[in-house]
Structures are given as structure tokens and as C-alpha cells.
């Protein structure tokens, strides 16, 4: 029986067409993760050790946030640092003491960049020594553009967090509360969810699981560094975002946790599959999910009608692409191409399976998945295929719009609340926005705003 299943799965797997291009594509530098992580971890400070180039990127990418006294800064390397005329240890100590004095954080994250890689600055070696000297935890994450793309920055930070021995706990109100209503929960081994999502979404997903009697023991990351969950051997862990493969690996290998490989809770179909998988692992019969999904789809009917039968092209830059494509196919769209910076077929295995199943249900051919895409070639293909919607970065959005091609800025999917049943509609809100706008602008006439190719 199981062998037969395996063969079936294999047959299914072989159908997905994976390709790899030149890697000449536009994406955000992974240091951009400080933008959402410093907001998520309220008692943290992020120090990006890099050059003016990194600083200018953050300044431009983060826009208004810069002016809100952010808990991040650049340790800007100068010529003396590069040529090792200055002592890294002393320099970092000086800056970290200043940060400690001015901001008093519970933890400092050092974000390594391309430059620290190239000059081989031993951040992992310096951190423990300095940590002891200034008695403040220092966590090192190498979120550089040599190795990673955009959201993978969060992966490097969470992996570094996961690797740390358990931090001292401060019992918070919420935990006390959950102890009191233990009867709501089924008894099961501790479950820790990983992935940085906004607090409201954390609450929403926690409540969804509570409805199934599953208690979320903790989140990585949590709202404060001091509230990080204790992680022990044998705990179960499950990811909420598709780009967290290093974190998953670290939790499995270093912390001996058991990974629940599930599709990601993006879209009502994804959320149902995610909860179902967790329930299965804990031997719980899920209830009410079917109805819940149907109800959510019903609510999104107007949006679904708008995109039904329309085509979409993912240029690829944030690793959410597989999950989003799967959801949009389920919602009736035809996906021409899924570009993606990096594809971990093991970590995303369940998601890929769900993609296949969804295509089967919808009786559609499987879209091609292009790893490390080449933007130039992609624009050529877009010209040929003329998709109804291109999901792309800001570098290409305006030029494509000027050529009469609808675009949606991909980065918005990273910052919007898109997880769980409650937020499924937010995804369609984003996806349909260009289509809705076009309906309103019909009177203007031409869609072509350039004569160039």
C-alpha cells in the first residue's frame, strides 16, 4: 500500500517542470528583513554591518519607517575597517555600547553583509566574547546578497535564533491565562510555530488551532526576545512561511525537533491543509474546516469572479510564489510561469504536492517553475504570452504598465497580512487591484504609454 502510494507520488512529482536560469533577476537584498523583524521583536536592535550601499538600500526601501526612530542602524564600514587598520572587535564594542546606552535593547542582532563575508570578518567569533563583556545577547545572522534573496534574510535570522540555547523566560500574562483553560485543549506534545508574522495574524492562527484543541506552545520569533519559547528535543515544529528552510533544518538538526511538513497557511485551501496536517500528526480529527473553507470562498466570490480564467505570471523575488500560485489556481486563475529565487523541494514538498493536486482538481497543466530566473528572458516571454497580470518587483512594474501589461508589486505580499482564513481576502484584494482599477479607467482609452519595445 505505502509502496504504491510512493510510486503514485513519484509519478505526480515528475510532472512538475523545474528549470533554472541565469539568476539575473531583481530582488530586495536580504538585509531588508530588519524592516519587519525589528517591528516584530519589540525589544531588539538590529545592527547591519556593511557599507553605504547597504545603508542607502535600507533608507530607500524602508521609506517612511526610517523617520520613526527605528531600532536598527548601520555599522558603516570605512576604508580603515576594510584594510584592517582598525580592530573589528574594538569598533563593534564601541558601537554596541553606544546602542546599549541609548536604546537599552534585550538583544542585538548583527546582520552580516557581502562586505563582512568578503573581508572575512569573524562575526560569529567576536559575538560570544563581546556578549560576555557587555552582558547583552548578540545574535549573528549572515543575510547577504552573495547567498540569499529578500525574505531569506528572515530565514537566516530565525535560524540563528533557533540555534541559541533557550533564553531565560519571563512568564507573561497570556501563558498564565492559557494554563487556566487547559480543558480547551487536547493533550499533545509541545508545538512551536516558526515564521515572523504580525501579531494579529499570530493571534488568528493560534485561535484557529485552538478550535481544533491544539495548543501553540510558542512562536519563533515572539513579540519580545525574552519571551522566546523554550525548545526541547522531541518538540514539534511547523513553518508558516515558505522561505524558512534553514530555520527548519536548524530546528531539526540542532534542536532535535520534529518538523511537520505542511502546505503553508496562505489562502483558505492552504490554511485548511496546514491545520489538517497538524491535526493528523497529533491524531486529531479536524472538525469544521470544510465548512470554514467553503464559507471563506463564498465571501470572496466577487473577487474570484473577477479573476476567474485570467492568467498570471510570477517573475519571482520573495519565495511566496508557489503558495500564492497554488491559491490563485484554486481561485480560477491560469498560472503561466512561477519564477522563484530558490526552491527547497524538501521543505516545500507538501506545498508542491498541494499545487499538483490543485492543478488536477482544476484540470489544468502544471505551471513551469523557474528557479533563479533571468528577468530579461522573462520580459521576452511576457511579451509573447501577454498575461493578464504580472506579479513583479518595482523595477519592472512601471515599464510593464506603460506597455499595457497589468502588474502587481510583489513586495506588498510580504508586508500585507496574508495568512489564515481571515486574511485570504487580502490576497485577492491585492491581486484584483490592477484589474479593478482598469475597469474604472476604461474611459481614458489607450493602455500603451511608450513606443519602445
Amino acid at each position: 500500500m505505502t509502496i504504491k502510494q510512493d510510486i503514485n507520488n513519484k509519478n505526480l512529482k515528475e510532472k512538475i517542470n523545474f528549470e533554472c536560469e541565469t539568476g539575473n533577476y531583481h530582488t530586495f537584498c536580504p538585509i531588508s528583513c530588519v524592516a519587519w523583524l525589528y517591528q516584530k521583536i519589540e525589544d531588539s536592535f538590529f545592527l547591519v554591518i556593511g557599507t553605504k550601499t547597504c545603508g542607502y538600500f535600507l533608507q530607500n526601501a524602508l521609506g517612511v519607517m526610517i523617520f520613526a526612530e527605528p531600532r536598527y542602524a548601520m555599522a558603516e564600514l570605512e576604508e580603515g575597517d576594510i584594510s584592517a587598520q582598525l580592530n573589528d572587535y574594538e569598533e563593534l564594542k564601541r558601537l554596541c555600547l553606544q546602542i546599549k546606552r541609548d536604546r537599552n535593547p534585550s538583544v542585538i542582532f548583527w546582520i552580516g553583509t557581502c562586505t563582512t563575508e568578503i573581508i572575512k570578518m569573524d562575526l560569529e567569533g567576536i559575538a560570544p566574547k563581546l556578549e560576555a563583556e557587555i552582558s547583552l545577547p548578540i545574535i549573528v545572522a549572515r543575510a547577504n546578497g552573495l547567498d540569499y534573496a529578500f525574505t531569506q534574510g528572515e530565514d537566516t535570522v530565525l535560524a540563528a535564533l533557533a540555534q541559541r540555547p533557550n533564553v531565560k523566560q519571563i512568564k507573561n500574562l497570556q501563558e498564565k491565562k492559557t494554563e487556566s483553560d487547559n480543558r480547551d485543549y487536547v493533550e499533545h506534545l509541545p508545538l512551536i510555530l516558526f515564521g515572523s508574522i504580525p501579531d494579529p495574524v499570530v493571534n488568528q492562527l493560534t485561535l484557529e488551532l485552538k478550535k481544533q484543541g491544539i495548543h501553540v506552545f510558542g512562536w519563533l520569533p515572539s513579540r519580545r526576545y525574552t519571551e522566546l519559547p523554550q525548545i526541547y528535543e522531541g518538540n514539534y515544529v511547523c513553518g508558516v512561511n515558505p522561505y524558512l528552510s534553514r530555520t527548519a533544518t536548524t530546528l531539526m538538526r540542532r534542536r532535535k525537533c520534529k518538523l511537520i511538513g505542511a502546505p503553508f497557511p496562505i489562502g483558505p485551501d492552504g490554511t485548511k491543509a496546514w491545520i489538517t496536517k497538524i491535526c493528523t500528526v497529533f491524531n486529531i480529527q479536524p472538525h469544521g474546516l470544510e465548512e470554514r473553507e467553503i464559507e471563506i470562498w463564498k465571501k470572496m466570490k466577487n473577487y474570484v469572479n473577477l479573476i476567474n480564467g485570467k492568467s498570471v505570471f510570477f517573475m519571482g523575488d520573495n519565495l511566496l510564489e508557489i503558495s500564492l500560485a497554488r491559491f490563485l489556481i484554486r481561485a480560477g486563475m491560469i498560472v503561466f510561469e512561477i519564477g522563484i529565487p530558490y526552491m527547497d523541494k524538501r521543505y516545500q514538498g507538501a506545498e508542491l504536492d498541494l499545487l499538483q493536486k490543485t492543478c488536477k482538481i482544476k484540470n489544468l497543466p502544471l505551471p513551469i517553475i523557474i528557479e533563479k530566473p533571468d528577468n530579461y528572458n522573462q520580459v521576452d516571454r511576457i511579451r509573447d504570452m501577454k498575461p493578464d497580470l504580472v506579479i513583479t518587483g518595482m523595477a519592472h512594474a512601471n515599464p510593464l504598465e506603460a506597455r499595457g501589461i497589468n502588474t502587481k508589486w510583489s513586495v506588498e505580499f510580504t508586508f500585507a497580512q496574508i495568512h489564515g482564513f481571515t486574511n485570504a481576502i487580502e490576497i485577492l484584494e491585492l491581486v484584483t487591484r490592477p484589474l479593478r482599477r482598469n475597469q474604472k479607467l476604461e474611459k481614458i482609452g489607450s493602455q500603451q504609454y511608450t513606443d519602445r519595445r
Binding site: 539568476g23 533577476y25 531583481h26 530582488t27 530586495f28 537584498c29 536580504p30 557599507t51 553605504k52 550601499t53 545603508g55 542607502y56 538600500f57 533608507q59 530607500n60 526601501a61 521609506g63 526610517i66 542602524a73 548601520m74 555599522a75 558603516e76 564600514l77 570605512e78 576604508e79 575597517d81 569598533e91 564601541r94 558601537l95 553606544q98 557581502c114 562586505t115 568578503i118 573581508i119 547577504n144 546578497g145 552573495l146 547567498d147 540569499y148 534573496a149 501579531d199 494579529p200 493571534n203 485561535l207 471563506i296 465571501k299 520580459v379 518587483g393 518595482m394 523595477a395 519592472h396 512601471n398 515599464p399 506603460a402 482564513f421 481571515t422 481576502i425 504609454y449 511608450t450 519602445r452
Partner: protein
Amino acid sequence: MKLAYWMYAGPAHIGTLRIASSFKNVHAIMHAPLGDDYFNVMRSMLERKRDFTPVTASVVDRHVLARGSQEKVVNNISRKDKEEKPDLVILTPTCTSSILQEDLQNFVNRASIETEADVLLADVNHYRVNEMQAADRTLEQIVQFYIKKAQKTNQLNLSKTKEPSVNIIGSFNLAFHNQHDIAELKRLMYDLNIKINIIIPEGASVQQLKNLPKAWFNLVPYREIGLLTAEYLKKNFNIPFVNLTPMGIVETAKCIRKIQYILNENKANVNFEKYIDIQTRFISQSAWFSRSIDCQNLTGKKAIVFGDSTHAAAMTKILTREMGISVVWAGTYCKYDKSWFEKEISDLCDEIVITDDHNLIGDLIAKVEPAVIFGTQMERHVAKRLNIPCGVISAPVHIQNFPLSYRPFLGYEGANQIADLIYNSFTLGMEDHLLEIFGGHDTKEILNATLSGNDKQSEIKWNLEAQYELKKIPGFVRSKIKKNTENFAQKKHVDVITLEVMYAAKESVS
């Protein structure tokens, strides 16, 4: 190492890319890791460019670290040569390639053997120069390259145009109100009966550069970018240049007089005095505005000015000499241009501040408590925090400083725009102040959906968690969400709103 939250000028390669992408049919290839191509985002977003930014990266990844770029850069150059057929490819070093110390010049030499396009290596060092210095240098480098090329092939035309003519050196993308400034300068030249030879670099083809020496003189409207090119042309072809920024009535007149002097040196025999007089008194409104009663109220008000050297200096001159406002201190982040800046305005303000540390600027503003600030986006935010009105006069800027409507800062129309900017900043501040004195707008604290306040008080309770969650919702939608949730709870006969009720309510409305 330096702790930095914000910087006024970008890294060197941004300057090179701004020049490269300003020219027509020039392609830049950055030797850079993934993600360093955010220049494309800036250009596409801020300037709302319709065409793909002609900048690609030759990506530096682990393989490049291990084995060097080898063929990669060369292949990328020749690939772009075939795909885009550019006139020129500029290989752009970044901070990363600076430390890799690969022989990029060698790649350029090898690539140019097989490409149709010319290939250049931008001569900028990340650790020595900033965005503006790099742009200045790259522009000079390109001009020099094409002049020399024309010399070699005997295509350089040194004969002057018959009519007086000018090159305008200073039109680029991602510059402050630049498009409008250039339009205004063109109009000014038209009025003065001076033909435009070429305007570089925006929209110009590199093939046109060999015609530069045909102009009678060069006009460099901004100090930051263009002076090196003008100096090169002066040294090699004896072309005089005017680098007086025509910003404000007085400086515009000065600039026009300098042009008159240069033309008369070349026996053009022109007199622009009447033009200046008519423009100042009747066509432009700003001189009259300075005399009007409105402006009298501004006399002696305290202002501070900060920005790039061109705009900060010009603004200081306008405020003091054309409006009677007292500038407590003026400053620039162009540290390398210190002596010029000091020379220009030392007797127009009490103090001069040269720094690129925005914290210092913030502190200085807080200490002085001026009535108004003229600065960059950063000062605008400092001003917001301190509740002081602020006008943005210099880069770095946001998308709102790339306006669709005509907003020059240069020339006579520019003087009008600046007068409006100054006056509006002040009256707004005054209005705010008066409102404060008389108790503010009366609707300020009312959070109900109806202005009349007849909404019946809700009797539904919120539990602690839900209250906390509600507080996290941004202020401008909070009351709406509160009302929607309470309506939902009422319909469902729920007395206490919990997190679950909140989310259910959210699902039900969407």
C-alpha cells in the same frame, strides 16, 4: 566604523548609474551582488519612468568569490551588446567589487574587442567619493572619451556656431526638480536669443558629444554635477563656462549678466539689462511680492537652511536678500565643497554648519527653534516631530518631490515657485499657532462617525486582549473598525468583544 541611521548622499555607484541611465542608449552593468540593483527601483518609482532602466547586474555570488568573475563579466557585457545594441556600456564597480580587487579594466579591454558598443570602466572609488562626486566624474569621463575618440577619427568639429549658443551641463534623472529646471533654462535661453547646442546628459546620445566644442559657452546650473566637465572643456578647448546658479531674482540676474559678458567678449554685442529689468519688475511676481505687505510680516523671522550646496546657498541668499528673513544658520552635507559654501554665504547667516550627520542637524534645529525650516526630507521629518513648518528644497527627496505639474526652482518662474513655497510654509505655521491659541479646531477630539455627536453610546464591552488589539490598529481606521465590530457584536447578541469576535467581525465585513 560609524553608526549611521540615515545618509544625505548615496554611494558612488548610484552617481555613475544616474549619469549612465540619463544618456540615451547607454547601458550600465554593475559588478555587484544580488539586490544591489535597487537603483532600478528608485528610477522606476521616483521618476515614474516608462522604460526599463538600462542597468543590469553582473551578479557576484559565492562562485565569483571562489574563482573570480572570469568570463562572467565579459559575457554579460557582450550579451547586453547583442540584446540592446547600446552605444556605450559602462562597467560600474560597487563597494563589493572594490574589495574584490578584480582587474575590471582587463574585462573591459577584453569585452570591447568583440562588442559593437564602446565599453568603459567607471573611474570611481566607493570608499573615496559619494554619489555626487562620482556622477560628476563619470560625466567628465564619458565626455572626455568621446571627444578623444572624435579627435582620433578627425571628426571633432571645433568651429563655433554662427549664432551665440550654449551647452547646458546638468540635466539628469533622480535630481531635485531637474526636469522643470531644464525647461525653465531653455525658456530663458530662448528669451536671450541663445541657441541650445546640446543639453547633457539626460536624453542626449553619446554620438552628439563631439559637437560640444561648437557652443560659445557652457552653463552649469548646479555645483554638484557638471563642473568637472565644464572645466575639462575650458582647459582643452577654451570654452568659458557660467556656474552661477540662476535661483532667485538676484542670482538669476547675476547669471544673465555673466552670460552677457561672455557673449560680448566674443563680440556678440548684446545687452540684457532691459530684459532683466522687465522680468524682475513685471513678468516675475516674486520681486513685487517681496515688497507687498504680506511679505513685510515675515521680516526678521528666524529660518534655518540645510541641503546640498547649490540649493542651500541659493535659498539662504533668497531668504535674506529677497525676503528679509533672518537665517540663523545654513548648512550643507557636501563636506567636500566647504570652502565654496562658506565663501558664498558667510555674511548672510549667523553660522555655517557643514556636516552629514542628521542627528547633529536635528539637535541644532531643536536648539534654535526656528519659525521655519528649509531642508531635505530628513529635516521635514524633524520639523514634523518638533511641529515646525518645513519646505523641502534639496535632495534627498521622496516621490512627492517629483511633481507632475511645472515646478522649476531656477529662473524667473522658479523665483515665483520659491516665493510661494516660503510664504506657504510661514502662513501654515502661523495658522497652526493661532488655532492653538484659540483652542484648536472644535472637531479635533470627536471620534464618533457623526459630526453632530448624536451617535448613541455603545454599551458593548471589550475585554483586555481585544482592547490591546484595537489599540494597535492605526488611528485613522480605528474608530471605523471599532464601530463595525460593535455592530457585528450587537447583531450576534454578544456582550463582550473578544479577539475571536473581532476576527469574526473582520471576516464578515470583508
